[in-house]
Amino acid sequence: MIDLRENYLSKHTIRSWLLTIDHKRIGLLYLFTILIFFLIAAVAAGLMRLELLTPQGDLLLPETYNKMFTIHGVLMVWFFLIPSIPTVLGNFVLPLVLGARDVAFPKLNLLSWYLFILGGSFALYGVFAGGVDTGWTFYTPLSTTYANGHVMTMAAGVFIAGFSSILTGLNFIVTTHKMRAPGLTWMRLPLFVWALYATSLIMVLATPVLAITLLLMTVERFWGVGIFNPALGGDPLLFQHLFWFYSHPAVYIMILPGMGVVSELITCFSRKKVFGYSFIAFSSMAIAVLGFVVWGHHMFSTGQSAYAGMVFSFLSFLVSVPSAIKVFNWTATLYKGEITFSTPMLYALGFIGLFTLGGLTGLFLATLAADIHLTDTYFVVAHFHYVMVGGMVLAFMGGLHYWWPKITGRLYPEKAGQLAAMITFVGFNLTFFPQFLLGYLGMPRRYHAYPEEFQIFNVLSTAGASILAVGYLLPVVYLLWSLKNGQRAGENPWAATGLEWTTPSPPPEHNFDQTPVVTRPPYDYAYQSTFHPREVEQTLENV
C-alpha cells in the first residue's frame, strides 16, 4: 500500500519552491505566508484582549491600542481570511478535483503569490515602521486628513494584494470552465468548486472598486483634491459607499469557500449524497449576486435617507435566505447517514453552529430600528466574528485536516485533532458570546477603556480568548509532528468520492497518470459502498 514514488514534494531546493508553477506547491507557499500574517494579527488581538481585562486603559497607550485593532483587522481580513481557503485549499484542491494537471494559468498563479508577498511586505512595513490607527475601514476624513502613521503604506499593501486576488479569481474561473475532466459536467462538480467559482466572480468584480477607492484616497491625501473631505468640498459618506461596495461582497469572499468546504465534509463523514445539490450550488451564486446590492446596511446610522435604508435592509433580508437554505440542506444530509465524528466533521459541525448563530444575529443588524442601537457596538464585533472566525476559520481548519493526508501523504493523530476542534469551539463561544451582551448593553467597539459595569463580560471574553489560543496552537504542533511521524495515508483515507482521492498521496507533480473520466454524479456514497464495500471498510478502519 505504501506509495513511495516520486511526488510533488520530492524536490527540496529553495529555488524549486520559489520558482514553482505547480498549483500544489503554490498552495503551500500561501499556507506558510498566511499563517505568518495570522500569527501577527492574533498577537495584536491578544494584546487587545489583555488590555480589555480591566476597565482602565492601563496596559497599552490609547494610540497603541488603536494601532493593534487596525493591524488585527487589516491583516486578518486581507492577508488571512480573504486568501485563506481560496489560495491554500483552492489552489491545492481545485485542479485535483477537476481532474486537471494544473490551473489554467500556472505562471499567473505564481505571479499572484508574488503580488501577495509584495502587498504583504508593504503592510508589514507599515506595521513595524510605526503602525496605522485608522481601523481596517480607513474611514475618511479620519484616514485622509487626521490619522497618524503609515496610512498610505498600509493602503498600498491592500491595493497590491487586491490584484493578487483578482488574478487568482480569474485563474479559477477559467480553470473551472476549461479544465474539467471528461464527463465532469457542471452539475457533477463538487460543491466546493461551485463555491470557489462564486467567490472568484466576486473577487474579479468587486476588488477593482477597492483599488479605485484606495487610489482616490491617495489622491486626496497627497494632492489635497476634495473627494471625501467636506472641508475640501468632498463627501465623506462617498468613501463609505465605495468601501462597503467592495467590503460587503468581501464578506462573502470570506464565507462562501468555507460553505463549499463544509458541503464536502458533511457528505463525506455522513457517507451520504448531499441533500439538495442544486439548491446549495445555486444559493452560492445567489449570495454572490445579492451580496453586491446590500452594502448600505453598514450605513443605517450615518444619516443616509430612510428610503435608501429601507431598500438596503430589505435586500439584506433577501441575502439571508440562501444561507439558511444551505444550513437546512446540510442538516437534512445527516438524515439516514452513517456519521463518524472525525476531526474534519467536528470542525464542520462547529462551523454550522457558529455560522448559524452568526447569521441569525445578522438579522438583528439588518433590521433597521434594531441596528441603530446595535451598530458600532460589540454586538457587531461578535456577529462578524461568529461568521468570519466561527465560519471561515473553522471551515479552513476542517478543510486543512480533511486534505492534509492528500497534501502530505500522512495522517495526523485523530484524538488530538478532535480535542483541538472541541477546544476551539468552546474557546470561541466563550470569547465572543459575551460580546453580544456587551453590545446590547451599549459598549461601543474600538474602545480602549470602558465603564466598569462592562468588565465582567470582558473578563469572560479574555478568558475565552486564551482557550481559543490553545485550540489554534494544538493543531500547529500535531500537524507538524505528523509530517514525519504520521501514519501513511494512502490514496483515499476517508473513502471519499472526489477525483482528488483517486491519485496517490502526495500526488505526483502532474497529478494524474491518466486523465480521469467521470461517469457518476458527485457524492455517490451509496454507489461507492455497494460496489467497493471492502475497500471502503478497510480505509475506514485506518482512521
Binding site: 488603536n66 465623506p236 439588518a366 441603530i372 451598530t375
Partner: protein, 330 residues
Amino acid sequence: MRFQVFPDAASTTAVQVDWLLAFLSLVTLFFLGIIFVPMGVFLYRYRRGNPVDRTPLNISTWKIEVFWTTVPLVLTFVIFGWGAGLYVHMKTPPEDAQEIYVVGKQWMWRLQHPEGKREINALHVPVGRTVKLMITSEDVIHSFFIPVFRVKQDAVPGRYTMEWFKATKAGTYHLFCSEYCGTQHSGMIGWVTVMEPKDYQDWLNSGSPQETQIAAGERLFHQLGCSGCHAENSKVRAPSLVGLYGKPVPLEGGTIVTADERYLHDSIVMPAKQIVFGYENLMPSFEGQLNEEQLFQLVQYLKHLGREQPPEYRRQGEGAAQFIVPHEAP
C-alpha cells in the same frame, strides 16, 4: 463591581426597540431549535455503527426546498416591516420637538440649548419633552450614542444629522462616541442627565444669563453685514431670506433644492456652490470666519425669520424675490 445584563430603557423609543429585539431573539431561538434539535437527533441516531434503518426516503426534494425557502422568507418580511416602520418613526421627529445643537470635535462633544446654555460632554434634558438633536462635526465622523434611549446618530462633517427621543425616566446615563474617531475615541464620552421638568428649568436658569441661539444669530447677521445685502433697501440684488426655510429654491442650472438646514449652512460657507436662479454670484464666502456653533446660530436665526411673520410677508417659493426685512436695519 457593578454588573448588568440588560440595559435600562429610559425613552419611549427604547421600549419599542426592546420589543423588537425580544421578537428577534425569539426568532433566533426558533431557528436554532428547528436546526439543532433535528441535527442532534440525526447525529445521535445515525452515528456509525448504530443499527438503524438507512434506506433512503423516496420523496420529492423540491417541495421540501420550497417549504424551507418560503418560511424564512416570510418571517424576514415580517421583521423587515417591523424594523422599517420603527425606523421611520425614529427618523420623523414630532413637530413640537425642542432642538439642541451638538457638535463633535476630536475628542469632545459641545452642545448648546436654544436658550443659549452650553454644555461639554454632558446633556441635560427634561422628562417627558421631545428633544431633537441637530448634530454635526468639525473634523472627522463621530457618533452620538445614548444606549438607554436606544438612539445613535453619526456626526458627519459638512452636514446636519438628527436624532430625537423623549426621555421617560430621570437619572444619569452614559453618552458614548460610537464611531471610531482617532486616538481618544474611547475618551469621547459623557453623561446624559434626565431631570424632572422643574429641576430642568432651575438648571437652565442657573449660572449667568446667556444670549439665546436666535438672538446670537441675529447679532451675527448684522455684524457680518448679511443684512446689508439681504435687506429690502440694499443696493445689491440679493434674495430675501424671510420664510426661506423649508421652501423649494430654484437654482441656476435648473435644479430645485429644498432650503433645509444644510442648504442654509452651505449657502453661507460655500455660496458659489448653489446660486439662486436669477441672481449673480455676489455673495462672499464666510468660510473660516465662523465656527460651526456660530453657523448653526445663523441657521437657527434664518429658520426663525418669517416664522413669526403673517402669511402675506412670507416668500412665495418659486424664485420670487421680495425684498422684505422683518426688523429694523441697524
